[in-house]
Subunit: 358 residues, 4 copies
């Protein structure tokens, strides 16, 4: 093993470049993973554009699939050479937030143990997965062995996309027989659609204008796809639901428009489950909110992480309940990651997700 | 029994007057109640000012305490002469919304059975309680016998104020040991404070500037009262909680400012439980919302109703767990209701709630 | 319309016979349904054998599909001639139990409004559905219109079997990624299997020895079927789950043996969701119960009813999420109901459910 | 600091003796606590009697209050000399069970991460707290600083008794207005009573025959105390609740008789929350269980642990919501622990809890 590795490094807004870094030293609670497959997330594009600030010099990426290269001295229960994933969110397990089940808001360095978005560290506050090697902190809480028979690509969506999408459905508390609408069918929206289907929604409406995404949406579980460029989506939803509205609406884009449509599409007493990363203040229209008297719920979810979450997601993939392989539309080597960013960032060529193999 | 009765009638914005109306005829599912005590709600003031539109000629009021005068032919299980209350919200019991447990959004006349705020009928879509007699629809689902030994005033807050205030605490899913802040200590906020205390909150912060209300707030359960005219309430809350923020914030006023303060005062993963009736669009500040990634919940509650809810509230009063008698600061006869509206509408003389006795 | 009708009448243990009864008079809150299809339930066999006592002369059956013949004077929102179902359980909507969401334990005639099994009236405390006509009480809370395009047989399982089976999965609070075992794959167990699949269980194990039922079980969603006559089911489950046990076990038979197996098959912190109707005291083995320290949950469910529940179930059928048509193995006219009882009671000829058409 | 310490050591059934042991070495994830106060639990008496087997030579005790003597190299966020407690249950934080919120069933050494009662280690599988020093494993997940101003005795019940008692109320999902019965008013039952009161139960019934315990029960929140030696407790409960039964029954003794009484005292749809440690198989009477059709829930709880739980409990004590100081009836030095066992084991002299000070 050499002591240098290649990595996708954020330099400044507009520049994520392939560079070289030392392979990290392994502390007692860490594990070093040799990355075999990773991918680029929409959040990485926010970072690239400077919309979400991270430190210059940081390795980007939070969706690792790999092999254990080296285990910290205090990490038991694993073997080197074992195939594993880790979630995009790496809770400590021991913070007050984690112990209370609020893993994504894990505050390792606050006296009270909570920190907004504190569980998201890879490619945000510590070096990430778009590299040859990745150092996983609190490894014993985060390394999840890949079940035999599953390929890298089959589990590549588990660390973030699938966990987030399912998380939106779960936070919506979808019940058997519910009507659910999902706004936007990018990778996360498509996984939210799959999650709604898995939880027993009887009628699933997706809102999406790109025909290829509409087609995949139907495969993931949508019964109807509404093209918002052709008709007002709220009217279309009310027509489909015969005026009732949906029990749950999932926002999977991060815009005021979709947030507002989502709120307008739920029945009285319904739930708006928000997954989007917003970039401006949101407005809640008084009428859609029934002046505060509609028994509405607005809930947000940051990608659930930790090894038990990853285990559950991979079990769901292993049993064939969900197939995210169709989401991987393009393949690149790590050496071509700048090209991959260019393609993904500009959403060219029908890209949904790319697979990057160091 | 005469065939005419006195009633407080809404004529047009600015005018609620004492007038005369026929005593209502009793249908098979109805009950006629002779009102012994009722009160005026902040919502009635919204109606008076024309901020919440109702039909001209409607009798106002939704907080009835009285005696059964006449039962509909299909209403079993009660006796004439029995002392009862009914909730401000009168769910049908049989609508799809009611059967699903969403009583306040009961849609009696929609094909799908849901209707925003549909459960609120008294003094909104049908004649209300500020009169000598009140016709209670779906009486068998709504008449709740008053336990022996409780006075009219002891149960006067159950139909609306106590149910709403407790509802805000319940929707916040307060747990033993939680830290909770309640914004505004009017009658509903005070009952929310009592609810937070009843559910086991270990640290309760109230935000209120009126000294008399601050004093009652402490009696209802607040450990700290923050005067927002003297210090920034969010800073004060962060100081009290040593930077952690509260688990739950209850908004009990209905303004952008308090909504925003509430959002800023909760910890990551916390809940904003909103009780206020808003009169304009709300804004969610991006930073307070962690860009949608903070695992926040925003929930709204319309006063829970139905006879089982009323039974539970009266049981709580009967056992001495909560005492709302201090909230009744003034007494009036029905003949003086215009004076009562004047006092209550202008919040004169330290008024919290008035008791009206026909 | 004549004034007499044919009906399956319980006379004494061992004797359910086809007889003649007056067509019931319709009270203000009732609806008279002309039955187009009904079926026989395992509970009816308990009644036949005298194991569950009902009054001599009672019409049996609690699974009605039919057409509205006549509406009570106070029943709005329906038309005569409309195709409807009603649940096996007919909650009042207005009892304290119903208003608290506990519809199956609806106490119409108790002062406090709760009654064990009080929601089950058809073929138990009032005349049932194995007849030409059925009187539905509290019709406005219980009549659920059949969506266009669904046949009688497609909705025939909704009133009881599907609602009960799904109810067992729901009471188990199955989550995406759970491992679930269902003991016995009779009609209710098969619907519980379908419910577990619908709620996102990643690994479903059914325990059943009859090959035909095992085959249908796989179609309903089971990944593994364990034949308890060939191997110890608890050992088999532990092998499949690599020693972990299941998150949820559903008991769908009503015997000590399956109850105990279910308890032994769940992981620490797991849930035993019981659907069986037992006929003797149950024993909880100390070791399987971790002496009371295993954070176990044992929950029981009586078939959820009411029109909103029926609407949701039919929506689930309409969207193709579940197909119960394969459960109907035999057809009979009402005139042949004694033959049908004989076949079903002795479980001859691979019978699962029979369709009875008056 | 010497290298030997005194400790209460289990030798064989009937013999727990004061002995000498080496002061433990501190691993990277551990902390060494100098015990300032501890106590004896009913479970320790089970161990003493040989009813619950532990290894010969084990130090007993699981209720530590102390001062940090030495921190492991990987334990950040604490200072030596800091006053802390740790829960009786010490979850790892990182096991699959812990990450799923099921801390008490934490499986550190099972491949799947769950283990029945696995979270209970002190005085069970590793040396316990009745000693001069205690080694706390996974210290960063388990050390909870004591708030300024709280004495050792004020927090002495938090590690086990208060957490368990409150846990029983929480697992019962007590709501504002509920009626709750608690069977047995030993230390855990008394804390369950306090928990029921804290969660808003409107009517609390305790079942207890010892007059001193009945008196304390009333102080902890009971409205009624039923003496089962003078009247049948189920009949008394039905009389108090006017035939309705209780919403929740908490079993706090661990006997068939109290388990059965608890089941018979809940209403249809009610919850039996069991805290007792049983020593034989339990029987569920068919009639009390409504043959499996009563929508009953039976839930068990093992003392919740972890530093966040401890923080919440101490916050509840600090705010004066609960006062457990009256439970400490006797004081001993560690040198007199054999005398303390004798007194506590035979329940002499009105003992509830003893405080042991090394």
């Amino acid at each position: 093993m050499a002591d240098k590795m290649r990595a996708a490094i954020f330099l400044e807004p507009g520049r994520i470049v392939l560079g070289e870094k030392p392979i990290p030293a392994v502390g007692p609670l860490d594990a070093l993973i040799r990355i075999t497959t990773t991918t680029i997330c929409g959040t990485d594009i926010h970072i690239l554009k400077g919309e979400y600030p991270v430190a210059s010099g940081l390795t980007i990426g939070h969706e690792p699939v790999g092999v254990i290269e080296k285990l910290g001295s205090a990490v038991a229960g694993y073997q080197e050479g074992q195939r594993v994933i880790a979630g995009a969110i790496t809770p400590s397990g021991w913070s007050n937030a984690s112990l209370d089940g609020c893993h994504s808001q894990c505050g390792r360095d606050t006296p009270h143990g909570f920190k907004a978005i504190g569980g998201w560290r890879f490619g945000n506050t510590i070096d990430g997965a778009q590299a040859e090697y990745l150092l996983v902190p609190d490894a014993i809480a985060n390394l999840a062995p890949i079940p035999d028979g599953l390929s890298d690509e089959q589990v590549l969506m588990c660390p973030d996309i699938l966990s987030t999408g399912f998380g939106g459905a779960e936070a919506g508390k979808i019940r058997i027989g519910d009507t659910v609408v999902i706004f936007a069918q990018g990778p996360i929206g498509l996984c939210a659609t799959a999650g709604a289907r898995l939880m027993g929604a009887a009628e699933i409406i997706a809102v999406e204008s790109v025909p290829e995404r509409a087609a995949i949406s139907r495969r993931m579980g949508a019964d109807h796809v509404v093209d918002f460029t052709r008709e007002d989506p709220v009217s279309a939803i009310m027509k489909i639901t015969r005026g009732r509205g949906t029990d749950v609406a999932i926002e999977a884009l991060g815009r005021q428009q979709t947030f507002e449509w989502a709120l307008r599409s739920i029945r009285p007493g319904g739930t708006l489950s928000s997954l989007g990363v917003y970039s401006e203040d949101l407005s809640i229209p008084l009428d859609a909110f029934a002046a505060g008297l509609g028994d509405h719920r607005i809930v947000t979810t940051l990608c659930p992480g930790g090894k038990e979450r990853m285990r559950r997601l991979m079990a769901t993939v292993a049993s064939g309940r969900v197939d995210t392989s169709t989401l991987v539309t393009h393949h690149f080597g790590l050496d071509d990651i700048e090209t991959a960013y260019d393609l993904f960032g500009h959403q060219r060529d029908g890209v949904l997700k790319v697979a990057i193999r160091p």
